[in-house]
């Protein structure tokens, strides 16, 4: 049965779009049929991070308003056959996205895909609420930083009160994805530790994505990090997160980049 997963955070800039791309691609790399949907109407970026920005013809609002068929708006990824993108509209009015329209599109997507990964806009306004409304699962992206943790707490509250599942008296599965984590700084007491964040938010942890230069490189290239460098530390963390999402019980660890002393020296020489 198809699952709707919302990637949300409240705060902007914590890695929602990066994580949507990486989780969506990692799921598709396991052979699942995946669509990533951009809900950030007016400020779409998922297409750019996925490297599909030149191929956008129609968008979510065109489909909601009936100007295009869903099959015409979906962009098939060129690298992973089972991965598709449904872009957001760049310029139109946010109010063009209606609750009924979104429900119709999500129901149609449920028939075609195993996973529908929704990239939420920042904030707690209508756009964010529409993105989470039909979710079965939620990934709450959080940085180990005070304002991000506070906003995640707000979002968790909304997930438990304003979603379709919550209104039907059911529970939505919430998972914490800690991004931009620096183990060394946390050990030195300069950054909130994993345990601190978990204690405050008290939802299960699905992954710890280490701060890594590979993440910026991936977005420069327009490729999810699980595709641009599958062996890198963040990619391995996203692969593990996806396995946990599919029900596997894995030991939690913070992957690190394996660098030889030689490559470190080499890099330093030419930096």
């Amino acid at each position: 049965m198809a699952k709707v997963l919302v990637v949300t955070s409240g705060k902007g800039g914590v890695g929602k779009t990066t994580s949507t791309a990486a989780l969506g691609a990692a799921l598709a790399q396991t052979g699942q049929n995946v669509v990533v949907v951009d809900f950030d109407v007016g400020l779409r970026n998922l297409d750019l991070v996925m490297g599909a920005e030149r191929r956008v013809v129609f968008d979510l609002i065109n489909v909601v308003q009936g100007d295009a068929k869903l099959s015409q708006a979906l962009i098939r990824d060129k690298r992973v056959e089972t991965l598709s993108i449904l872009p957001a509209s760049q310029t139109r009015d946010k109010d063009a996205l209606t609750a009924d329209g979104v429900e119709r599109v999500i129901n149609e997507l449920r028939e075609k895909f195993d996973w529908i990964v929704c990239d939420s806009p920042a904030g707690i306004e209508r756009g964010a609420q529409l993105a989470m409304y039909h979710a079965d699962e939620a990934v709450v992206v959080t940085n180990p930083e005070v304002s991000s943790v506070r906003d995640s707490d707000r979002i968790i509250g909304l997930l438990d009160s304003t979603t379709a599942k919550a209104k039907a008296g059911e529970k939505i599965n919430k998972h914490l994805l800690l991004t931009r984590y620096d183990q060394a700084r946390a050990a030195r007491g300069e950054m909130l530790r994993v345990e601190d964040v978990l204690e405050i938010l008290s939802i299960p942890l699905i992954g710890i994505i280490p701060e890594s230069e590979e993440v910026l490189r991936a977005s420069n290239l327009g490729s999810p990090v699980t595709l641009s460098n599958p062996d890198s530390a963040p990619a391995r963390a996203y692969f593990d997160a996806v396995r946990r999402l599919q029900g596997e019980n894995l030991e939690m660890q913070v992957p690190t980049d394996r660098k030889s002393l030689f490559s470190k020296l080499f890099k330093w020489r030419f930096a």
Binding site: L48, G51, E53, R54, R55, V56, V57, F58, D59, N62, D67, A68, K69, S71, Q72, S89, Q90, T91, R92, L216, R217, S219, N220, L221, G222, S263, F266
Partner: protein, 122 residues
């Protein structure tokens, strides 16, 4: 990936990012809101012309766009059902033929790339 390959790949991502953004923003600044309306209009009018001569299923139309620095291509794939003769056995399914029309979006594009191809059925 070889060590050398990885080294070069690592150093070259920022220029790629710059090029991608320049192409994207050049299109967004000039076309703005009208872009998707223009494509929808082009699709409707092209389909009307073809529908005058061949019966087509409008749901089986795929539109692809590729924006480049100088030239953008709009590709419209229309499934044209093979015209059935009355003597055909009814259980025999018609083979679908694909007609691809490439249309240039930009007027400044060189004329050589403005060619139209319409493959006919077997």
């Amino acid at each position: 990936m070889s060590f050398l390959g990885q080294f070069f790949a690592k150093r070259s991502s920022a220029p790629i990012a710059r090029d991608r953004l320049q192409i994207l923003l050049a299109h967004e600044r000039t076309s703005g809101e009208g872009q998707s309306e223009l494509i929808a209009k082009l699709r409707e009018e092209i389909l009307d012309v073809i529908a005058r001569h061949v019966p087509i299923d409008r749901d089986k139309v795929q539109i692809k766009l590729d924006r480049g620095a100088a030239v953008s291509t709009l590709e419209i794939d229309i499934e044209v059902p093979q015209l059935k003769k009355k003597v055909d056995a009814p259980e025999k399914k018609p083979d679908a033929v694909e007609a691809g029309i490439k249309k240039n979006l930009e007027t400044k594009a060189d004329p050589a790339s403005g060619k139209q191809t319409l493959p006919t059925g077997p």
